[in-house]
Amino acid sequence: MSLMKRNVLLSALTAATLILASTAAQAEMVLHRGNGAEPETMDPQKSTGVTEANIQYEIFEGLTTYSPDGEVVPGMAEKWDVSDDGKTYTFHLRDAKWSNGDPVTAEDFVYSFQRLVDPAIAADYAPIADPILNAEQIRKGEEKDLTKLGVKAVDAKTFEVTLARPAPYFLGLIRHNTFLPVHKATVEKFGQDWTKPGNMVGNGAFTMESWTPQASMALAKSPSYYDAANVKLDKIVYYPTEDISEEFKRYRAGELHITYEVPSDQIKFIEANMKDEYEAKPYLGTYYYVVNGTREAGSKKEVREALALAIDREAIAEKVTGGSFLPGYSWVPPGMIGYKTQYVSFKDMPKQQRIAKAKELLAAAGYGPDNPLNMEILYNTSENHKKIAIAVQSMWKAIGVNATLNNQEWQVYLDTRDEKQFDVARAGWIGDFADPVTFLDLFLSDAGVRNDAGYNNPEYDKLVKNSFGIGDPETRLASLQRAEQIFLNDLPIIPILTYKTKHMVSKKVQGWAYNNLDFHLGRYMSVQ
């Protein structure tokens, strides 16, 4: 009896605290966001993933930044000049402060850019800085002197970057989170601990308040941010939500305002019941199958084309993945500004004709009922990859290809792919910035392990590499379009789907807008 009384008392107390907590929450405006995996690091230069970038864009601001709809807009740089040869960018910094009150200076950017390419930091993303003069030599250790990097503080408010080659996408490129500025004195004082709450100093709209790994990270509005007057949220709480069905339940329970993902088995339910909270739009990513061109069957163009023809992309996008992807007929996904999307030649061919042509091509390559083509599809453990592989298997069956499935754990799969021990492997690629180069340079013949297909076409190499030196955006993009056309004609990989960004966004959230890079800064949002 006494135990029960205590329980009643306890639950009354809990209820009271909950009520108190919720009234407190009404006083402050707090946004709760699901954010996928636990961030690996809050150090911009050391990070690799989207989950980290989402949070870092709240805490730091680069030279240029994102508008709600993804345009390049001034960040720490108020304005900039580009030299006539397209190789020198001069950024004029605004009067902005770090969260500890120090002014943001050109030296901060020099330090941060050098840090990105410094071999001692060992940044995964260091190659992203390659367009900058000497960046490649420094990260490879060929040039030991960090100050040789093409960055310079002309004065406290003027930052100058010299490029090794013109890169018309440079203003978009330096929005990448690895280019975010860090506060030198803080990094040097705390070492590895500089990203901990209390130590961390940023220049963005929010500061880190608390971080409990695997549970949550809370950010509070920064009073020292230059545009603080227009920041409406008092707080943003990011939750790691690796389990997407659990995330969806928390969203439905009202615990989250924005989700990181949407479970594909719930899409039917969502479209029927909560359609206006469901945001699914094209993303800058391609889901594809790599054909191993170093193996006999995969080296034949007829085989690759037949395999590509036989895949019914609409059926996979709509039926297999429940509409969580779009059918993909290109390598560079649609939506790159100024770039005309290139498609595989058979995009508009009717299904029957595609199958007939695929059979013809296989026969021409020497495969048929007497000598059937056997292919193994390699994929890493995931319900979606498995479903898609099974669908492809049955589609290939229709043209007489015997496909077997090989499911491997993530790390084993990566090893197998690197060692090219596969016939066909599933893969995905998300662009780092809104320019076709982020896709096309993957399959340069000298791209190393990243070029899983072992693709080697000198003409393609020439077109892509030449584009690096072209300053005029239109000529440059035209050269890249020609390169992709050659690529899609050779089909070293089979594009299958275009990724979609998928979020549940509560009707209480205002200021959310779609952009194909899928970055949504808290400084533009508010909660009713």
């Binding site: 150090d43 060992a122 995964d124 990260r139 790390q411």
Partner: protein, 305 residues
């Protein structure tokens, strides 16, 4: 007593060493590495990373470096969660695991012992048969089967309790059930068997013959003796709860160290996996020692000199 404790602790050193060495070298046999990802890093960047984490040294040298770190209380940096040292992660996650495991073991003891005594007192009745067959199932079905079934039925179909997460009291229910079920079963069976034996012993019969009421005979004389095997089972039970929590924390997305163990293995986060292994190993050794000491306190026949 002190001598005994020292001897046991001394004996734990080689055990721990074998655990460390085994885990260290087995971890390195697994394919992949901590820096493998879909966006493959260029070779020179990989070389920089390997160098930064001393992975470019010969394996034996890395092992010695690790042992040396351990001796100085340093578990090393996490390869995956780059802003944290392994020790930060373990000591951050341990309170959560401790709460979960503590509640589970306490519940298992209370329910298991009660059930066992009850079954023993009504030996060969339907209550006895029912509780013993249920507990047989409890022992036979592992918690990685129990946990998803609980999620499916209670979480998803009946929608009574959250299927994952941590923080609210309702988050505790399913994982605690999944963790303590097999232990309840084992403890109940142990208690029943020893209770039956004790009930037929001479001193209990004497007590009854003196005219002591059955309730007092049981509570004053029988239980203390009957519970001894349960105490010696506590060591393995705690080990079971700890290893069980690895699975259960992962299934219910609980931010304890069991989850780090699983994530660490999948990410090939060598130092994190090693850290958790060493920590768990030391914990199990310590719990076994405590259970043995407790046994000495309860059983007058056992003396540690």
């Amino acid at each position: 007593m002190l001598h005994y404790v020292m001897r046991r602790l001394g004996g734990a050193v080689p055990t721990l060493f074998i655990i460390i060495a085994g885990a260290f070298f087995m971890m390195r046999l697994a394919p992949g590495g901590p820096f493998a990802r879909e966006r493959r890093v260029p070779p020179e960047v990989e070389a920089n990373l390997m160098k930064a984490y001393h992975l470019d040294e010969p394996l034996w040298q890395q092992f010695l470096r690790y042992l040396n770190g351990l001796l100085h209380g340093d578990f090393g940096p996490s390869f995956k969660y780059k802003d944290f040292a392994v020790a930060d992660l373990i000591f951050g996650g341990f309170p959560v695991s401790l709460q979960l495991g503590g509640i589970a073991i306490a519940l298992a003891l209370v329910i298991g012992v009660t059930l066992g005594i009850w079954a023993a007192l009504r030996q060969n009745s339907w209550i006895d048969y029912a509780s013993m067959s249920v507990s047989m199932v409890g022992i036979a079905v592992p918690n990685f089967v129990v946990a998803p079934i609980l999620t499916l039925v209670i979480g998803l179909q009946l929608q009574l309790l959250p299927v994952g997460g941590w923080g609210r009291p309702s988050h505790y229910v399913l994982p605690v059930i999944a963790l303590c079920l097999p232990q309840i079963a084992a403890i109940a069976r142990l208690t029943r068997a020893s209770m039956i034996e004790v009930l037929s012993s001479n001193y209990v019969r004497t007590a009854r013959a003196k005219g002591l009421p059955a309730r007092l005979t049981i509570s004053r004389h029988a239980i203390r003796a009957a519970i001894l095997p349960v105490v010696s089972y506590l060591g393995p039970a705690i080990a079971g709860i700890i290893t069980g929590s690895v699975v259960v924390e992962q299934i219910f997305s609980i931010p304890g160290i069991g989850r780090y163990f699983v994530q660490g293995s999948l990410n090939r986060d060598y130092t994190l996996v090693m850290g958790v292994t060493v920590f768990y190993g030391a914990l199990v050794i310590l719990c076994n020692l405590i259970a043995d000491l407790l046994y000495g306190v309860l059983d007058p026949k056992v003396r540690y000199d």
